[in-house]
């Protein structure tokens, strides 16, 4: 990688991207992160894959139906296009179901690139959890193809101590198919969560959302575009950003409704919480609608913790730090509440609670 290949912040879509941290992570010397891979998997007997610095580790893996393969993504996305090499493929026949897939990415420094391809046949079902830990620049590309009635629930947590995680999702969602991806950025790394979801079938459902928690001088960012091309589609983008110290959290969410995509139901909710005055939350909601019978709700707000609520909790005996943590946790709860699996949601909530303990 050369710096010339990285997107320029002069481009509107990349104006909040922290390419300096990405570059530094890519150039960092490897170091032992001191993390046991086994600790990064949640309980469960589903398929497991461990990638260490982008290399598949069979010793800690039991891939089941997930295949490991080398390939190069076909995408014009500047970072996604770099994610070529050893990656993984999940291809399910019609009506097949695989739940509890876990993919863990552990980095020790330098850059690592892993492409993923997920193709679900008609009415196939999959659930998966992805975890990023360690350090370095983890660059990932994921391509999703969901046939009629297929359903994928995906939960992704970014827990790297430092470095940078860049994710690019590209999804095509067919008739009555459903893709839900919920992200939690609760590590010390910089991040760019980037998605382009296209609803091509009638009655498709697409959701991409989550919570970004930033502290110190960290910068995290999500940039998602959902495109409705067929009728009766539903999309949800519910993002929460919490910024402490002098950190920056940025959310750009876009909904496009193509001509003829009638009865689209789009909802976009972007909310930011500043824990200190020196922190920044950038929000950019965008709607582009070329159909006339659609419902697109959107809201974008940034604020501080409610001083009255803070005093109310304190007046009942809860100390200030704990009261702030409770209110902040409540602020992100509805985003993490979109995770359907109780155990996965509890694990993500615990990650968020650990972040709050450290930040407050």
């Amino acid at each position: 990688m050369t710096i010339l290949e990285l997107p320029s912040p002069r481009l509107e879509e990349w104006r909040w991207a922290d390419m300096a941290t990405l570059k530094a992570a890519a150039d960092a010397e490897p170091r032992d992160a001191g993390i046991r891979p086994a600790d990064l998997f949640l309980d469960g007997d589903g398929p497991r894959l461990l990638f260490v610095d982008g290399v598949f580790e069979p010793a800690h893996s039991r891939p089941g139906p997930v295949k490991v393969a080398r390939w190069a993504p076909e995408t014009v996305h500047p970072l996604g296009g770099m994610a070529e090499g050893e990656g993984w493929v999940l291809s399910l026949e019609a009506e097949a179901a695989v739940t509890g897939i876990q993919i863990v990415h552990l980095g020790s420094g330098g850059e690592s690139h892993v492409p993923a391809r997920i193709a679900l046949g008609e009415d196939a079902v999959a659930t998966m959890v992805e975890t990023y830990a360690g350090t370095g620049w983890a660059n990932r590309f994921a391509r999703f193809d969901l046939a009629r009635g297929a359903r994928l629930m995906r939960s992704v947590r970014l827990l790297q101590a430092d470095g940078f995680v860049s994710l690019r999702d590209e999804a095509v969602i067919g008739e009555a198919a459903s893709l839900v991806s919920i992200f939690l950025g609760a590590g010390g790394m910089g991040s760019r969560i980037d998605g382009a979801l296209t609803l091509t079938g009638k009655g498709a459902f697409a959701e991409m959302g989550g919570a970004l928690l930033t502290s110190g001088t960290q910068k995290q960012e999500a940039a998602v575009a959902v495109r409705h091309e067929a009728i009766e589609g539903t999309s949800r983008q519910l993002w929460r950003a919490v910024a402490a110290n002098r950190s920056v959290a940025s959310l750009a969410a876009r909904v496009e409704v193509a001509r003829g995509a009638q009865q689209t139901d789009g909802e976009q909710s972007l909310r930011g919480l500043l824990l200190e005055r020196a922190a920044t939350v950038n929000l950019k909601p965008e709607l582009e609608i070329f159909a006339d019978d659609v419902k697109c709700a959107h809201g974008a707000t940034v604020g501080e913790l409610d001083a009255r609520a803070l005093f109310y909790l304190q007046s009942r005996g809860i100390d200030e730090a704990r009261a702030k943590a409770l209110l902040t946790h409540a602020f992100v709860a509805d985003a993490l509440g979109r995770i359907g699996d109780d155990a996965v949601r509890a694990a993500f909530e615990a990650d968020a609670a650990r972040w709050l303990e450290a930040a407050l």
Partner: protein
Amino acid sequence: MLKIDNLRAEVDGKEILKGLSLDVNAGEVHAIMGPNGAGKSTLGYVLGGRPGYEPTGGSVTFAGEDLLEKSAHERAAAGLFLGFQYPVEIPGISNVQFLREALNAQRRGRGEGPLSGGEFLKLARAQADALGMDHEMLKRPVNVGFSGGEKKRNEMVQMGIIGPKLAILDETDSGLDIDALKAVGEGINRIMRAPDKAVLLITHYQRLLDYVQPDFVHVLAEGRIVRSGGPELAHELEREGYGAVAA
């Protein structure tokens, strides 16, 4: 139990309490009445330790200790309960979670062990039953979507669970219909009428005092107590108005 001596306090740089003195002993119920703007709510917030309500002079001792030195949560752990005129809605935190956190934080502050989930739930349900509050409301987010009366009942349920030494109840009767007023009044008597407890009722109207008989009534005007008396003073105020009595 509570000794307020020549207390002065300001809000946004404006002096609201101008030398207020009051003694409340264990086993007593005191009512503080006064016109709007007299400083009634300010007194509650200053005693509760709300940021922005700054004491500028005088002293307050509670159970022998300097109250104003303590932060808000320490005052709660010491046994002070502030009932809010407008209880705050907190989306995303259930009543049960909030109250268990609060009670266990206070117990920790007193060097006691935490209550288990089961023990806590039993206590919470008993208090909800006593106040006529549906158990379902314990699971709902704190005060979210509650009516005015439900919020005040919830304050009393909290008070019952926490079991304070001194309750300062700010306009607890505002926004209540007659049934809720009765339930809240009975709640105050049941929870707080004891030889080792005391209540400071801050109120504009006499009607709550029909249910909670005060031992002493004080008139607060322009930031200080201008008159004190027995329960009959409340009736006199109701009959003749603050202007006549406080003059």
